[in-house]
Symmetry: C2
Subunit: 764 residues, 2 copies
């Protein structure tokens, strides 16, 4: 049988296999109906398969894909007592896969699809900082390493396909999934999406290496701009906004070779993405040439029955629109009937099946269906590297927003430090949504980090003061007393996406009735963007002691805490930094590491002034009568412990360069940001567009020249025809340390010619 011949081309094998399949078997390949944790039961002897799995494989004469075999969290209810850990999950995957292959007449293995939003969300999986923290690093190279590691862990555990958030652009912080975004900017998100694809998939051509995992980029498209920041609500965006802001990361991911994308829940111009042929077929497949897989989001196909009338026609609409693989839906289980009723042409079904099978061939699953066959690195051997990478990302993401009088790094004169606040002594809320239960003792809190790293003789006291949510202020007096007696108070405040057993969940795993301390995560949208009242009270009371107060906000979205700007000596924000965030934060507080993070989102003063993203159109509006229209802190902002001077930009041959000098007393890092400001242009421009960035480490007094290319990546724009191209016009380049600084930076002006075909900016 040709398809079994590993030396035959994948396309040949795929076609051969398809030609042997029944309609039922084909339909089976497009289904991913089960929650993976229902496929097994842990027994004293190991694992046993369930009747549910038997029924499923019998129903589909095999199994197309299995979601979340290794998922462990409050929703799935899987924990160390019931689930598969680092040591035994490969065996579980083996057991399931052998059963699937046996049940399949043609021996087709299943795809194991796993959540990898910030590390593999399985027991013992390395938890990385959330995407918003990755965005704050402005460091695609470091992220590529971390992504590669996550893929290796996934594959070592028996997983195949990694579901990774990457495409959602954070345009409204009220959205609970803001933490899953790389930020508000399409250029930054594009560079990080490329890094993700490169890191996870490698660049091995047709075949994935055994430590590489094909990615499913989530979500396509526009989900970061649903109305009111409401989860999976409609987006009202026009095509220009989509093309300029929401599509570039997907385009970059597709160009980098992403194996799959997930259609988003939200609608785009009248149709949810899973039923949106204009988006999935006309744009993604035809115009972009994407040949990979399109997966629907969980139960998104069945939602289409709202307008089609029944699950069969819903499945037909999704398939006809471009969805290949469903997730948990009933609709796709009826594809056989849909073909028989004439709702779907068998060729359409075949095309989807081919895309699923091709991925299985590319993964080598027919040759090595089970992890044991692949002999990758044993998962346990990966743990130490995972911790290093997670900590490195966390360290690079710590962002210093203000530092009055240079109160940070903590001076040696501070011998009594009070570490206060609900985040101070626990790692439970550093982890972000989706995270699996952690083994006791995993990770470090800020208190842990400071205790370990502070110089001998420094006395560190601690009180929690209050909970993350609610208005119980009974613990504040104890905290204030500690602050009063200290030289410095470190308040670790913020939010949480920690799911607990009390959390209620929707059928797709989004949180519904939130447990008391959950203020972020999927399903946890927040109108007011405020923290719990008691946290503000703690902040006010501690500040009132006169002891300098440093606030660390650990959060999954920019909460509105203007008080922290007004009342404190220094303010840091740390998007959920992962288990070892406490170390990273302590290192920065003590000056062992530089505050290297830069804001990937604008921080609003309040929800009332939304939106505040920096890259709005260049229109004449000023302020509200009762508030500014500007954010509290600008996109790109982040202070160092030293200072930098940027010279005026100089235009070269297809380049622009700038001299950057460390004008302070310490070595430090600056993120040099290149913004375009279009002057003469065929469509209305944004005030600023980030189009390049580079990190620079400089010793005191050191000056370095940074040279940026001025090529299509910098100059191209979405024209009147919605095609992205370099168009004639005049532009300014502004190079600065943040978007706000760019507004007053010295520009260099240049003209792009009518006949630009390659980078050839013409100095004026």
């Amino acid at each position: 049988m040709l398809y079994r011949n590993p030396t035959a081309p994948i396309e040949t094998r795929t076609r051969d296999l398809l030609s042997r399949m029944t309609l039922r078997e084909k339909a089976g390949q497009l289904n991913q109906r089960m929650y993976g944790w229902n496929a097994y039961r842990r027994t004293p002897a190991g694992f046993e398969l369930t009747e549910a799995l038997y029924a499923e494989t019998e129903r589909f004469a095999g199994l197309g894909a299995l979601y979340g075999l290794l998922r462990a969290d409050a929703w799935s209810g899987v924990d160390h007592a019931t689930g598969a850990d680092a040591a035994d999950s490969a065996a579980l995957a083996d057991l399931v896969q052998r059963h699937v292959v046996n049940e399949s007449r043609l021996g087709i293995p299943a795809l194991f699809v796993e959540e990898v939003p910030h590390g593999h969300m399985a027991l013992d999986g390395t938890v990385l900082p959330v995407n918003l923290a990755v965005g704050a690093t402005w460091d695609p190279e470091l992220y590529e390493h971390a992504a590669a590691h996550a893929a290796a862990e996934l594959r070592a555990r028996g997983g195949h396909l990694a579901l990774v958030s990457a495409l959602d652009i954070a345009r409204d912080p009220r959205w609970g999934r803001t933490e899953e975004c790389f930020g508000e900017d399409p250029y930054l998100a594009s560079r990080l999406t490329e890094a993700l694809v490169r890191g996870m998939q490698g660049s091995s051509g047709d075949l994935f290496a055994p430590d590489k995992a094909p990615v499913v980029l989530k979500h396509f498209a526009g989900q970061g701009a649903t109305i009111g920041g409401r989860n999976s609500a409609e987006s009202e965006l026009g095509p220009r906004e989509l093309h300029e802001i929401h599509l570039p990361a997907a385009r970059a991911g597709v160009r980098a070779g992403a194996a799959a994308v997930m259609a988003a829940y939200n609608e785009v111009d009248g149709m949810p993405c899973s039923g949106n042929r204009a988006l999935l077929h006309d744009l993604l497949r035809r115009r972009w040439g994407f040949e990979g897989l399109v997966m629907a989001d969980g139960l998104a196909v069945d939602r289409l029955a709202r307008i089609t009338g029944d699950p069969v026609s819903a499945g037909a609409l999704a398939l006809n629109s471009g969805v290949d693989l469903s997730l948990w839906d009933d609709g796709f289980t009826h594809l056989e009937e849909a073909v028989e009723r004439g709702l779907v042409r068998e060729e359409t079904l075949d095309a989807a099946v081919i895309r699923v099978l091709r991925l299985k061939f590319r993964l080598g699953l027919f040759e090595r269906p089970c992890p044991a066959d692949q002999s990758p690195t044993p998962p346990t051997a990966l743990a130490a590297l995972g911790r290093d990478l997670s900590t490195a990302l966390a360290r690079a993401a710590v962002t210093l927003l203000h530092n009055n009088g240079g109160v940070l790094p903590i001076p040696s004169t501070a011998t009594r430090i009070a570490v206060l606040g609900p985040h101070a002594a626990t790692t439970a809320h550093q982890l972000g949504d989706y995270t699996a239960p952690q083994r006791p003792g995993t990770g470090t809190s800020v208190l842990d980090g400071l205790r370990r790293l502070a110089p001998p003789g420094v006395e560190i006291t601690h009180a929690r003061g209050c909970a993350l949510t609610g208005d119980d202020t009974s613990g504040i007096s104890e905290a204030v007393a500690l602050a009063d007696a200290a030289d410095l108070a470190v308040l670790v405040l913020g939010g949480s996406s920690a799911r607990t057993p009390e959390t209620g969940f929707a059928a797709n795993g989004a949180a519904q009735q939130t447990a008391s301390e959950m203020t972020c995560g999927e399903g946890v949208d927040l109108a007011g963007l405020r923290l719990g009242d008691a946290q503000y009270e703690l902040l006010r009371a501690a500040s009132a002691t006169g002891t300098p107060a440093v606030v660390v906000l650990v959060q999954g979205r920019p909460h509105a805490v203007p008080e922290a700007a007004d009342l404190t000596a220094a303010l840091l924000t740390v998007w959920y930094p992962g288990p070892w965030g406490g170390d990273a934060i302590a290192e920065v507080l003590l000056g062992h590491a530089e505050p290297a993070g830069r804001l990937p989102v604008s921080v609003p003063r309040s929800a009332a002034q939304l939106p505040v993203y920096y890259n709005h159109k260049d229109t004449e509006y000023g302020a509200y009568v009762d508030d500014s229209a500007e954010p509290l802190y600008s996109f790109g902002h982040g202070l160092s412990y030293t200072t930098f001077a940027y010279g005026p930009p100089r235009l070269g041959q297809h380049t622009v360069e700038v001299d950057v000098t460390n004008t302070g007393e310490r070595r430090g890092r600056t993120v040099v940001q290149l913004y375009m400001r279009r002057l003469l242009t065929p469509v209305w421009p944004r005030t600023l567009e980030l189009r390049a960035f580079r990190s620079l480490d400089l010793a005191p007094g050191e000056c370095r020249t940074v040279r940026f290319p001025l090529g299509a990546d910098q100059l191209a724009q979405v024209g009147a025809d919605l095609e992205t191209a370099v168009l004639p016009g005049t532009l300014e380049v502004r190079i600065a340390e943040s978007a706000r600084a760019a507004l007053t930076a010295v520009p260099v002006l240049f003209r792009v010619d009518q006949n630009f075909t390659a980078p050839d900016a013409t100095p004026l």
Copy 2:
């Protein structure tokens, strides 16, 4: 000369005149550069013309149009001492017109263009309630009378063309111009826009009667949904949102024969409307067949120089995009040069000139250039009717939001009434933006109205308590003492769009530095939607006395005052009701009139939960974790002093009918609202769509059957191709007293056939 022959067809006259004109004369016809109040000076003897007017008419060899000759407000600085009042403005118009005609080689008169957003905004012009109040009446017929009256006043004063807000849909109450919108709903706005056009223009075919005025419908398009509610900022809307929500009122106005539309400031998908050929040409002229005039908004053409580089090319872009007549711009003054430089074809210019000239012929200006030639009703004779119509609209707009225990109407047992609050005793803030200075004694405050209408023996006390803005609470104790001593406290709170001499203005007349009490109006965008702090304090303190408190909110937008829902016995909202609003409010409070108004916008709890419009897409989102996603009061809501029962809807032949019974003790008015809820449909539906409404006055116990047609107006939707048509599907009709009530109303379900060509809904 053929063009002078009044019996020749207008098209013939226009072509003949055009053929005689120089390029300079043509360009002159497209300009409207002057502020009209700079054209004259008042002298003891009457009026004299200014050098500025002489220069202008010389420059353009005549004058195309003159903006705001009769405008009087804080921006223009015109008042009764310096401007033209009811008695003498026709003479002023005569003086200017005679000069223009004399200066024009071909004797072409000027168009006098005037602001008529809610009545003619001139000294002594009848001030009508603002559009949002008109929306609250749900009474197109009454509005048509009022619009007809405004047109008659305008023409009697010598004005020709009426600038009227109508097309902006109120999707974000943060926008300061929300008061200029008929509401959030496209159907309601469409019916009122039609009434406006019918009322002002009449239906006289080619020629306008001497008491009718061609309208310029403002603004086209999408200005009600700029980001953050920021004035003239970008809209990010997609074509579907535009077609479903923002374009229907314009389409209705065009169908009703509107003579002109004004291109909006905001951009639509990458281009400000004044430079947007897709909008002005492809859609408006080609697809809709609009043959009228397109005017640019003030200085909007010059703004295009931001991307074209200079005013000449900006003017060319606007003309080529479809703008015929500019407003105040420099750009259009260079059209001669633009033609000579080849930026504009002379045929394009000619087409615009034809549209201007055609309007002048339709107005009969060549035969009767001056008001004195037309002998319409003398303006002073119109005043009494104006007052009646303004009061009737105000009365119909008063909206009762809650009425605990039926505290209203004020019972005869209430013999001591305290009338409190900053709005209680003044008419200054009832008037809305754009309003001219009023003569002392014009209008009635709520205090005036109650004093006049309350039964003899009722003691009415008053204290202001606090100012509209700010946190000065020093006057509250006096007010609280009065409340404490009273049987009932009526608190008249709210906002203001009153421009004062201290207000600063942008070049286009939008407010910039706002005077202390201005919380609404053009340029006065509000992030937090809150009233001044002291008003809340007054509300809390007065409620705390235990005396039942009735709050009347006089406002230009839905401010966020959830306290008024919680703390008061009854709550009314009155969108700026005009000078005689005090009478209307008092009548309703005392039960002399029914509270007939219904909300034309959803009232939010806070700015943080925006948007809250009822006609969002039917997606699955629920609430925010920290707040509801539902408004405090729903679109369509408004209580009566009686109660009504709606029977189940019954489907007939192309109709649906419902029995409505007055189940209370009083005669009363209900607004029967028909909502569609689409089930099977080719594009994603909104939860509800208003598609018909009817007011009904019923005696206690009376039952009446209301029959609605089910035709294209009810059934049509915007298809996948963005064409509006009746498409096959299934639908529910729900008939209820508000959008919220419709969610739980008994539906009637029906199917629309494949081959629907005329109304033919098929009962299932």
